[in-house]
């Protein structure tokens, strides 16, 4: 078999050196009742041709975003990733290396992480950032739990504009740890609604901008209110490209900024792997979850980088660790960082402007469809619209025509009573022809 270098002669020789009669002898510690005498009931090994046929066959049953007009967003955005990014992340030295535990022979990975942290801190307007988390949703949950460690309080207030999946993940984990989650009702312009829920037991307030309905909000006043109550403000961004144009979380007074970084370098991947961005004020650094890369010097005084502050981490602190996380999303962080390096600040701003412009065009076109109502007052690259009847049914209908018309809000939060709300995003990959095709199809369907 192609992945196994040993042949039978090797195996015999090695068993001889070991002094074992056969390989079964090496499994002697397995209790007899638990030994499988034959392979399990699954197919035998297969060549590349057969494996490729099977997987390509499954792939062909899907309709990729690039196959036609496409408007899905709601926390995962289709952007063009420069070919250079994928080329570099496939280099053996990045792809097949491990956590940089031996910094002397991992400076490639480590310098990338240091650059990544610097980029994330600048994007979010915060002082420090970690080396990434699994994704935006788990980063949000980690932020809430970090706010408990910082404030020693038990309650988290979640805006109704927070992505429902983020709220669910946060709820799942934080309540297990004993926190109370106060989630406000879903609404297009939900942010100010958190103010009333802040009290002296509040560890943090979590707001999202642009929120799940696409609404952009300046949360400076919420920061002030949170801080006045001794709580932290956590600002969530699910569309990292927006950070190129909008006021940064730091500018608005965030204590912790978390974001989904998938938009840069990573791609859609049916939801994963993605990359969670996590940044905060420097004073909280020892309460941060996840890996941190820091600058140091080698024995000859030359600059180098290492994983640092690992006394926060589980392999040292065990049950006293700040989090149980012991990986990052390293390769995705690399992809993010390369894409960001190609764009630069100027390029990201331009990209954000192109996205916003395309979304304005989309929103204008949707507003012209009789029966549709654009709900989002101020948006970046995504809008919510009210459709007559079920948004989910409309989306399935249009999929039959080859148009992926966006995400029904009911898909995210079935119990919110917003079955007639549809979320549509536009990016630099959306063409004018795509928008025309959508509008024509909607106009036919909606009478």
């Amino acid at each position: 078999m192609r992945y196994l270098p040993l042949d039978e002669a090797d195996r015999r020789h090695m068993l001889g050196v070991i002094g074992a009669p056969d390989v079964d002898a090496l499994f002697a510690d397995v209790p007899a009742p638990a030994r499988l005498s034959a392979p399990v009931d699954l197919p035998r090994h297969a060549g590349e041709i057969e494996v490729e046929r099977e997987l390509a066959g499954l792939a062909a049953l899907n309709r990729p975003a690039g196959a036609g007009p496409f408007f899905c967003g709601a926390g995962a955005y289709r952007h063009h990733v420069p070919a250079t990014v994928d080329h570099i992340i496939q280099r053996s030295e990045f792809l097949t290396s491990y956590t940089p535990y031996q910094p002397e022979i991992a400076q490639g990975t480590l310098q990338v992480l240091f650059e990544f942290q610097t980029q994330v801190a600048a994007l979010t307007g915060m002082e420090v950032a970690n080396a990434s988390l699994y994704d935006g949703s788990t980063a949000c949950a980690e932020a809430v739990m970090m706010s408990r460690r910082v404030t020693r309080r038990r309650k988290a207030v979640l805006s109704g504009g927070l992505h429902p999946h983020y709220a669910a993940v946060t709820h799942t984990i934080a309540t297990a740890e004993g926190m109370e989650i106060a989630r406000r009702p879903a609404a297009v312009d939900a942010e100010a609604d958190v103010l009333a829920a802040i009290d002296s037991d509040t560890a943090c307030v979590v707001v999202q901008t642009p929120n799940v309905f696409g609404t952009v909000t300046d949360v400076t006043a919420i920061a002030a209110a949170a801080h006045a109550a001794g709580a932290l403000l956590v600002v969530v961004t699910t569309e990292a490209v927006a950070l190129g144009l909008l006021k940064s979380p730091g500018e608005m007074g965030a204590d912790i900024a978390v974001a989904e970084g998938q938009s840069l370098g990573v791609g859609l991947n049916f939801g994963g792997p993605y990359v969670g961005l996590f940044a905060c004020r420097e004073k909280f650094v020892r309460q941060m979850p996840g890996r941190l890369c820091g600058e140091t010097v080698d024995a000859e005084g030359r600059r180098g980088f290492v994983l640092t502050l690992s006394t926060r981490e589980q392999h040292i602190r065990r049950e006293k660790a700040t989090s149980n996380i012991c990986t990052n999303s390293g390769l995705c962080a690399l992809a993010f960082s390369i894409h960001m390096t190609l764009l630069g600040g100027t390029g990201l701003r331009r990209l954000a402007e192109v996205n916003h412009g395309r979304a304005r065009t989309l929103a204008g076109a949707l507003a012209g469809v009789p029966g549709l109502e654009v709900l989002t007052p101020r948006f970046f690259n995504e809008v919510a619209v009210r459709v007559p009847g079920s948004a989910a049914a409309l989306v399935e209908d249009l999929a039959g025509e080859g148009i992926l018309a966006g995400v029904p809000f009911s898909r995210l939060d079935p119990s919110a009573g917003q079955d007639d709300v549809l979320l549509l995003a536009a990016t630099e990959t959306t063409s004018a022809a795509d928008i025309d095709a959508l509008v024509a199809a909607l106009s036919r369907r909606i009478r």
């Binding site: 196994l4 270098p5 040993l6 090496l26 510690d29 209790p31 638990a34 030994r35 699954l42 090994h45 297969a46 490729e52 499954l58 899907n62 975003a65 053996s92 030295e93 290396s97 491990y98 940089p100 990975t109 990338v112 240091f114 610097t118 980029q119 420090v128 949703s137 999946h165 669910a168 993940v169 799942t172 984990i173 004993g178 300046d218 049916f270 792997p273 650094v285 820091g294 010097v297 080698d298 024995a299 000859e300 005084g301 065990r318 149980n324 996380i325 012991c326 990986t327 390096t341 190609l342 764009l343 600040g345 390029g347 331009r350 402007e353 192109v354 412009g357 304005r360 399935e396 995210l412």
Partner: protein, 496 residues
């Protein structure tokens, strides 16, 4: 050979991306736009490529040589899997696209689940956890939910051996459990008597790694699970070392209730410098109803997704992540499974164990095996007794391996063994490479025992950098680059 940071370049405003002009029309974000320009460098494409290619050459990688990090399972990553994961039908697929547009993706998740369940002998699997530690979290949340459903709210303890991965106690604490350690026997296994003594109706679960972190199979595993179940607790198995037994032992036959599977280890998705991982959790019938959403279910018109508790999945304890987990890793792992087949996976486990025992046999003449009696599984554990009196530590010895072209083994883990050196070769190594490795280690060991201390304490000499000052990094954390102030020379860090 030093590569400047991207922030240190003179020319910072180039571009590696050409974009069209934004659509006409007024920007609609008055007062919401960032005030200061985003001061991040942009490099042209040639400069970008060079920066990262140069940096990459400072890394060790499994594609370059043996990478024997114990408990990390650095095995060969087939390129076929990279190619397949990039098929637009998988890579360019939106997680919330209509279900009719993603039948192949759901089908793949269903088939992957079938393989995982069959290989483990377990009835259910939750795919969505994003890494091993995330899988542990998932498993303990399911256990917690099951106890809650049974009114067993007094169960607040989790037992775990001293040799456990740090994530085990960390995860238990993270979800509010109190951690109690179980002792270890002289032959490196769970102390059954201690376990029995500590089990009670306050215990929610035990967390045991098998094969354990000493590289040994828990001989009394059936008794461990019997005792645990008799006490009303669940058996969480840390599946990080499943690669040693896949195809030969099914955890379901051992009485396991929940086990995460590191797809990046056992099923070879690339480690990528520290992630992304993927940690699906197989569950026993008792725990299956509490699995988190989403679930892939068969319907009359194909596959459906249950995404929220409140549908049929009323008992789901919640959600581990937005969307459906690490699809990119599912594709790679499934391709890996198909390539090996049932026969190949079993053979891979056997070769991994054979390789580890070969290393153990070849090195034991000079280095001291922590548990010399009996076979090891997929990794060989040594301690530092043999270095006593040389003035050379495990760390020094490991750093000297770098100068021989190898990545060091895992050091100082598990904690139960003094100066531990944990070597995991995996099945990907040829006999010639194993011999090259053993020859190099024996030569190094000879040098250590003959008093050539300098070769070790000064190592590495042939790496891009000499030994790095980790204490300094932690004492004065510099986590981001900051522009030097005009007129002030940048202050380099210096050891004090």
């Amino acid at each position: 050979q030093d590569e400047a940071l991207i922030f240190e370049r003179e020319s910072r405003n180039g571009t590696g991306v050409d974009l069209p002009a934004p659509d006409a029309g007024a920007e609609d974000l008055a007062g919401l736009v960032r005030a200061a320009p985003l001061s991040l460098p942009g490099l042209s494409e040639p400069e970008t490529v060079r920066h990262y290619v140069r940096l990459s050459q400072k890394n060790h990688a499994i594609d370059l040589a043996l990478y024997p990090l114990g408990s990390c399972t650095m095995k060969h990553n087939p390129r076929l899997n990279e190619k397949l994961a990039r098929l637009p039908g998988f890579a360019d697929l939106h997680p919330l696209a209509p279900v009719s547009a993603v039948q192949g993706a759901l089908g793949l998740m269903d088939r992957l689940s079938h393989w995982l369940k069959t290989l483990t002998g377990m009835p259910a699997v939750a795919l969505s956890p994003k890494a091993g530690a995330h899988g542990e979290l998932c498993g303990l949340l399911a256990i917690r939910a099951a106890h809650a459903a049974a009114g067993q709210v007094q169960r607040r303890l989790v037992l775990t051996p001293t040799s456990a991965h740090g994530t085990n106690p960390a995860t238990a604490a993270f979800v509010g459990y109190e951690v109690v350690e179980i002792g270890q026997t002289a032959d490196g296994r769970v102390d059954l008597a201690d376990l029995a003594a500590k089990l009670s109706d306050e215990v929610a679960a035990i967390m045991v790694t098998n094969p354990n972190t000493c590289g040994l199979f828990e001989r009394d595993i059936l008794e461990i699970s019997r005792l645990t179940h008799a006490a009303g607790a669940y058996f969480y198995c840390d599946g990080a070392n499943f690669n040693a037994i896949v195809g030969r032992v099914r955890p379901g036959d051992l009485g396991v209730d929940a086990m995460h599977i590191n797809l990046h280890k056992t099923f070879s998705t690339p480690h990528g410098g520290g992630g992304p991982g993927s940690g699906p959790v197989v569950l026993s019938a008792a725990l299956a109803p509490f699995a988190p959403t989403p679930w892939v279910v068969h319907g009359p018109e194909g596959f459906r997704l249950l995404e929220e508790a409140g549908d049929e999945a009323v008992q789901a304890f919640g959600r581990m992540t937005a969307f459906h987990g690490q699809m990119g890793m599912y594709v790679r792992a499934y391709a890996y499974m198909l390539s090996h087949g049932a026969d190949g996976l079993r053979q891979a486990a056997e070769d991994a164990v054979l390789n580890a025992n070969y290393i153990k046999a070849r090195l034991s003449g000079v280095m001291s095996a922590a548990f010399p009696d009996g076979p090891c599984m997929h990794e060989a554990l040594f301690d530092d007794r043999w270095l006593e009196g040389t003035g050379i530590t495990t760390l020094d010895f490991a750093k000297a391996m770098i100068d021989e072209g190898f990545h060091p083994m895992t050091m100082y883990f598990p904690l139960v063994v003094h100066g531990a050196m944990l070597i995991e070769p995996t099945e990907s190594e040829s006999r010639a490479e194993l011999d090259r490795f053993c020859d190099a280690l024996l030569a190094l060991a000879g040098a250590a025992l003959s008093g050539d201390v300098e070769r070790f304490t000064a190592a590495p000499r042939l790496a891009p950098l000499r030994r790095l000052d980790e204490t300094l990094a932690a004492r004065k954390p510099r986590l981001t680059w900051r522009a030097p102030e005009p007129g002030v020379a940048p202050a380099p860090l210096a050891a004090e």
